[in-house]
């Protein structure tokens, strides 16, 4: 087991190293941030002074070594735009994204599971066709369009929902969360629902497919033959078996939702990390872009590592020898 974890850790480090190179050099070949900020009156000596002050006059590989050196001390640099440590900005805004993603996940499950079960139980009934049609739409209609339509309908025309921003927050374990105030939930509803749509569609489809498969399996037939109530069969035997793939897929999807809730956050002016990333790209705030991408890489690497370890605990074949099993 220990050997397995060490191996995976080394792999993770390698991924991280490759990613720092890609991200750092990738970001550094686009434009020059100084020209975006500089006033039109700032002449060449003035520009040169700023470039020097920001360390952009040094060769790019030298900048990279400085960056790597600082990274190992936990310092991912200061944001050009804000002048504060990039990581502090990320930590400050991460709770907003986390709660948005979490709510989206919950909505996807609460709505998606029952719909999927209904569609799986009576696949030819018209309700099932409606449900599957809905999931198809949720998959294929662009998220930003849905978001804008929701704003127009629920905020502007009906006036029920706030169009922008996050509601009142309360501090929970040092993070500001809006999940526990009425105003917060009111603001959260539309962006979370919009963000949940794709996950919801996935849950519906996975549940339905799982239902179709499991309902005809021998152990369900056997359970029925034993005279167990249909309700108990569904909630205990069927559910338990179809949940495994759903949880696996959603777990993977969740990381992506956190990392790239960009679109929803921009539409609803949600003060999360996704919107921060977009703003940073627009003005080439290199340290902030790099810090965020590195942060996402670390998050994914850790999530994968945890999944791998869990799998290896559950399924000995994984740790015994890769693909040979």
């Amino acid at each position: 087991m220990a050997e397995f974890i060490v191996k995976r850790l080394l792999q993770a480090l390698l991924v991280l190293a490759v990613m720092t190179v890609l991200v750092f050099f990738g970001v550094n070949v686009i434009g020059n941030p100084v020209y975006i900020f500089a006033s039109s009156e700032c002449d060449q000596p003035c520009l040169d002074a700023i470039i020097k002050d920001l360390g952009l006059d040094r060769p790019i590989w030298e900048q990279y070594w400085v960056f790597i050196g600082n990274m190992f001390q936990g310092d991912l640099g200061n944001s050009f735009t804000h002048g504060v440590p990039a990581m502090s900005l990320i930590w400050q805004r991460l709770p907003a994204t986390l709660e948005l993603a979490l709510c989206a996940l919950v909505i996807a499950l609460i709505v998606g599971l029952p719909l999927g079960v209904a569609a799986g139980l009576r696949p030819t009934h018209w309700t099932s066709r409606v449900i599957m049609g809905f999931s198809m739409l949720a998959f294929s209609v662009p998220v930003f369009w849905i978001g804008l339509i929701m704003i127009i309908v629920f905020s502007v025309t009906l006036g029920w929902m706030p169009a922008i921003g996050r509601g009142d927050t309360v501090e929970v374990f040092g993070a500001d969360l809006s999940l526990f105030t009425l105003d917060g939930l009111h603001h959260l509803a539309m962006p979370a629902f919009t963000l949940s749509l794709i996950m919801m569609a996935m849950v519906i489809r996975l549940t339905r497919a799982g239902m179709r498969e499991v309902l005809f399996s021998d152990y369900i037939k056997f359970a029925r033959a034993n005279g167990i109530r249909e309700r108990r069969i569904l909630s205990l035997h069927v559910m338990r078996n179809i949940l495994i793939p759903i949880v696996t897929v959603l777990g993977m999807e969740f990381g992506g939702v956190i990392a790239f809730a960009v679109v929803v956050e921009s539409i609803f002016s949600w003060p999360g990390v996704g919107k921060m990333l977009i703003d940073a790209i627009a003005v080439l705030d290199r340290p902030l872009i790099v810090a965020y991408l590195i942060f996402v890489v670390i998050m994914f690497v850790l999530l994968n590592l945890i999944t791998d370890i869990l799998y290896s605990l559950l399924d000995p074949r994984v740790r015994l020898g890769g693909n040979s099993g």
Partner: protein, 537 residues
Amino acid sequence: MNYRMSWFLAAGLAMAQPAIALAQEVLTIGVRSEAASMDPHWTQLSGDTQVQEHIFERLVGLSSTSQPIPGLAVSWAPINETTWEFKLREGVKWHDGEDFTADDVIFTYDRLRAGVSGAPASPAFQLEKGGKQWEKIDDYTVHITTDGPYPTMAEDLAMLPIIAEHAAAGVEPSVDFNTGQAAIGTGPYMFEEYSPGSQITVKKFPDYWGGEPHWDQVVFRPVGQDSARLAALLNGDVDMIDYPPTIDIPQLVEDPNFTVSTIPADRLIYIIPGNKHIEPFITDAAGNPMVPNPLRDWRVRKALSLSINREAIRDRIMGGAALPAKNIVPPGFFGYVEGLDADPYDPEQAQALLAEAGYADGFNITLHGPNDRYINDARILEAVAQMWSRVGITTEVDAMPRNVFFSRLIRGDELSMPGFDVPEFSIALTGWGTVAGEATYTVSGTLETYNAATGGGNGNFGRYSNTEVDARSVLAKRTIDNDARRAILEEAITIGMLDYAYIPIHFQVNQWGMKSTLVHEPRTNERTRAMDVRRVE
């Protein structure tokens, strides 16, 4: 106090709270760009300065048409060829109750000259212009000397927010301002809260020297998405927004619940033709670069200008919100030339001029420009390309995000290709804001021959060069007498623009949308400020 009594008190306070909140006059503004820092010397972005202007003031203020007015200085005058005397306002208090004196001015300028470490765009260059030196004469008098006669002193100092020595000495730039610790100013509003991505709030400073401010609290909420910002106004999340989408302006105007305020901006949108002997993006029918570059012929540049239908761009792309131009500063600005009107749309004459210059068969160009910087910039590029193609100049558009565009416009491919540190584009659309309300630096920046040593032609990315213009621009920079300088500037502008140094399209028009219960005095310099907004009586 016993336990029960404190409970009663707490309950009483809790009940009193909403009553106070109701009586508060709060103005919520939805802004397109968020302020990135509360340090007024950190950037020069208008999203930052417009919020900072509530907190910090300058020696010289700017009127709604960007003309200098007394700020923290009550008066200023040259006392000899190279010295300006500024008399400071007495009785001004900092937000923490300390007195404002000349020491704060000296401290501020010293901080800027020493350099604000890490600042991506400190306004310190304003102090380098003319080689300014400063000296405190007494608590309310400051002398500023320059290397030679220097006319635009007030305009320069109008760009430099004064910070408090007792609050800002030794603090960490940006960081300590964002927490509010060093964000102590003399302005009408005090720093209250800065929450990145979510909102910035300032509250009334009751002891403001200019009288009690109108609003108890002002909230700035960043809403980058145009349509979301409009939706926030329509459903009442915010009271006012900047940059309402041009396409939705008629809807706002017709709705009795909302109103729109409008003023021509100081921002000129124009096209810069390249003047190098050979330009890579100007090619003949076979695709080879042309020698010499036809844009060096003023008749060709004039033809390009005549073939642009500025009215069509204004009406069909800008929703009517544009001021077709040939002038380089908007009406009301120092240096605006009366009678220098936008070129008419005249494709026949354009074709005749092209034929006369020997390009009857036209040629091919690639027109570069940003697609996320100016109002409807990408659509303007497309329209111009079609108009030019119609007179025989086959035009291809290459629009790109501003983070790529400006680096290439100013310095070409310097990062990826050493040595390519000259403007890259052969012809490009860009914008220029005359922030100071005065044409001296606009003439020097865009019309003068490029000279890295003097800073002349700093924004002259087409490398236009005309000795007639240069002589006048240099003279204007040394002429203190306002009438004489205005005459010189008007000459320089007229010569340059009749020679088609570049091709102006229009001045942008600034617009704000707000509830009809509000009245707003718009500003040419695009700033959105609570000081300009009142409730309708």
